[in-house]
Symmetry: C2
Subunit: 417 residues, 2 copies
């Protein structure tokens, strides 16, 4: 029996096969994500991986259904495995925002699901770092969020040589659109064409834009010579004050595909242009109102960063550490009459916070020692009986070969976890 | 739009409503689970939350389908959201066990799903700590696993006053059955009746047992006076050597409902008997062979511990900590001309590992200070300009009221994250 196509198995390293993923690398990424979000004062939340289908169609229209893992449950409810976290978050915030001081700064690390029928071999799930701010319309919040994005990527060892945040504005594009077209219903289609400019053939974009009454050349000129809006300028100044000016540039090519963005938008890209976007986000000031049926109105903004592109980039730049067993001490049991005393020592060491492993069953001393080396234990430790009948514990540092001998109860205090 | 019945939203504390769950408490539980598993040398893995329906029907028969979130996906595959982790794990181990030294000691913290139609209000998902050992048939492995279970519960502050591991043996029950019945096909039905003895009316159990040709009274006598098997005796001795003897007792009432257990089985219960089982597990030496279609044969054992009962127990015993924002420093910006310098200081503090918050927009000094107190920041910090024009940073310990003043670049070194 195989796993389903597009889903991943995560194994401990060293990996047994190129077809599986590293649980250690995933935890490494999760730890960095959590750690930086907390430094920025973001609090963690989570929601259900399964939601009403309606939560997604309200926001994105019925066409989204083609990309969802949706089904009818046994209670005849139309449900879907979550394709993104923002609708869940907007629902949660709308329900209880009155109990939280503003701005609300929250993050989550959800697993997300998309069923894309046509693209075999492509993943159907991924994990995503989501950070969002509610209740602050000033661009100071946009700056704070972008700063978190930059610092998160930097915490993996990535530098301004490796990535850049491309900053843009739906407002600027909205103004551009309004000055040339009075039919607001065409705005979303227009944004979709701009979003695809980089990936589509120019001729194709040109045709589509003409059909809407826009000039491809004029748009190219706006993208390359358009000046930063006052909002974007304020963000650039804010990031410069933090010393993060090198990580960001205004780039009107970016517009973000999703329908709900309303203000500043941005995407993080590797500078060599080898990978898809590492992260993306922006303002969505109308979504809480939409999801809450008009009951709650809160400005909002956020970004999402997936684990797959990030992992590819870290691998390509040699920035993934080598993951080992994490064992501090391997207890050698060379004399089986001392097994009960060894178990007691192991118990005491673990209680003191050490990671300890040992051979569950009798094994030759050299085999045990080899195992300790294989798993890169920092120390071996063993219980010995002195000629006078006393129990002693002997710890050996496998790097320095230095040994320490003391009473078993003392050795626990002499080692640092 | 509401969340689906039986699913949970997890919010940051303090909780806004009795109907929602604590993301902080969940993280606290996850951290303890991970930490103890690693001290025991267990490595983390994960698998897909969605699997082929066949993976579950192979193991548990078609009757399991009634309890599953199963559906037909857009590629016409029969799939199910995972109701338990063991089949996924057995599949993963069978696929790549040759690349790992035995015993394989792995753990995971999956979210699991069950659709129980009849019981409204009951949860349809929970998180579970799963720890398993593969490739070791000696009861030393059972002892190690039970010891991990005990130490995990102890790490939450639970003591031998609070919980006990009830230890039993499918082998003992199998022998009991075989001595009285030659029709092996009735064994599973027999186990099911024994499993329900504590929860059902005695008359009901009596009738069912009679129908199979068993005496209710004789079974009661076996439960209360049956002697530990050699296996159970070895486990008791092993745990006693570790100093964990008080946490375990032999109790043949326990047999475990699932079909696949083959040897020692156990369950953790609160001593007051107020809650359902906190955890349960045992040997399942035949499952890898079954899942791999006979290709791989490995002895195996494991346990699962859910987050819901554990949380109830910790709450009832007053063992849940109070969760705060986790902010180390709140930066006061009382002079807006110093905001750029304050942003730089905040950036430096965060780079040094501190969790820092501040007011994104101009606010009155007393309002900022009140906010710092509300979120229980350890320190406030602010940038000041001296009469001679120098920038200084003033940090104030909100507990001791002690202040430190130094150059902004120095203050980062003077505080401990």
């Amino acid at each position: 029996m195989d796993r389903l196509p597009g889903f991943r198995d995560f194994y401990p390293e060293p990996l047994p096969h190129p077809d599986v993923w590293s649980a250690d690398a995933r935890n490494y990424i999760f730890d960095k994500w959590r750690s930086m979000a907390r430094r920025y004062g973001f609090r963690e939340y989570d929601g259900p991986p399964l939601e009403s289908l309606e939560l997604y169609t309200t926001k994105s229209g019925d066409e989204i259904v083609a990309q969802l893992y949706n089904f009818t449950d046994k209670g005849q409810r139309e449900v879907a495995m979550r394709p993104e976290m923002t609708p869940t978050l907007a629902r949660m915030v709308a329900a209880h925002e009155r109990n939280y001081k503003k701005p609300i700064k929250w993050f989550a690390l959800p697993q997300l699901f998309r069923y894309e029928r046509q693209q075999k071999g492509r993943l159907r799930e991924h994990f995503q770092f989501n950070a969002d701010v509610f209740g602050e319309s000033d661009v100071a919040a946009d700056s704070e969020l972008i700063s978190l994005l930059i610092d998160t990527l930097r915490s993996f060892g990535l530098t301004a040589e490796d990535f850049v945040i491309r900053l843009s504005s739906r407002n600027a594009w909205h103004d551009y659109f309004n000055q040339r077209c009075t039919d607001e219903s065409k705005a979303y289609e227009f944004y979709q064409i701009i979003d695809k400019l980089e990936r589509e053939q120019p001729e194709q974009s040109k045709t589509k834009l003409s059909a809407l009454g826009f000039s491809f050349e004029e748009i190219q000129s706006f993208i390359h010579t358009g000046q930063p809006t006052a909002e974007l300028d304020a963000i650039l100044k804010n990031l410069a004050a933090r010393g993060l000016g090198d990580f960001v540039k205004v780039d009107y090519q970016v517009i973000r595909g999703l329908a709900y963005y309303t203000g500043v938008v941005f995407e993080a890209f590797d500078k060599k242009g080898e990978f898809r976007a590492i992260a993306g986000g922006g303002r969505y000031d109308n979504l809480v109102k939409l999801i809450s049926g008009g009951k709650v109105n809160l400005p909002a903004l956020g970004f999402g960063m997936g684990d797959v592109v990030l992992l590819e980039l870290l691998k390509a730049r040699g920035l993934l550490p080598k993951f080992e067993s994490g064992i501090d001490l391997f207890c050698l049991i060379e004399d089986e009459t001392l097994r009960p005393d060894s178990l007691k020592l192991i118990q005491d060491l673990r209680s003191a916070g050490f990671a300890v492993d040992y051979s569950l069953t009798p094994a030759k001393p050299d085999k045990q020692f080899k195992r300790a080396q294989e798993i890169k234990a920092a120390f071996t430790i063993k219980v010995e009986r002195t000629p006078s009948g006393e129990l002693m514990a002997r710890a050996k540092n496998l790097q320095s070969r230095e040994e320490k001998v003391s009473a078993p109860s003392e050795i626990v205090k002499n080692l640092k976890p």
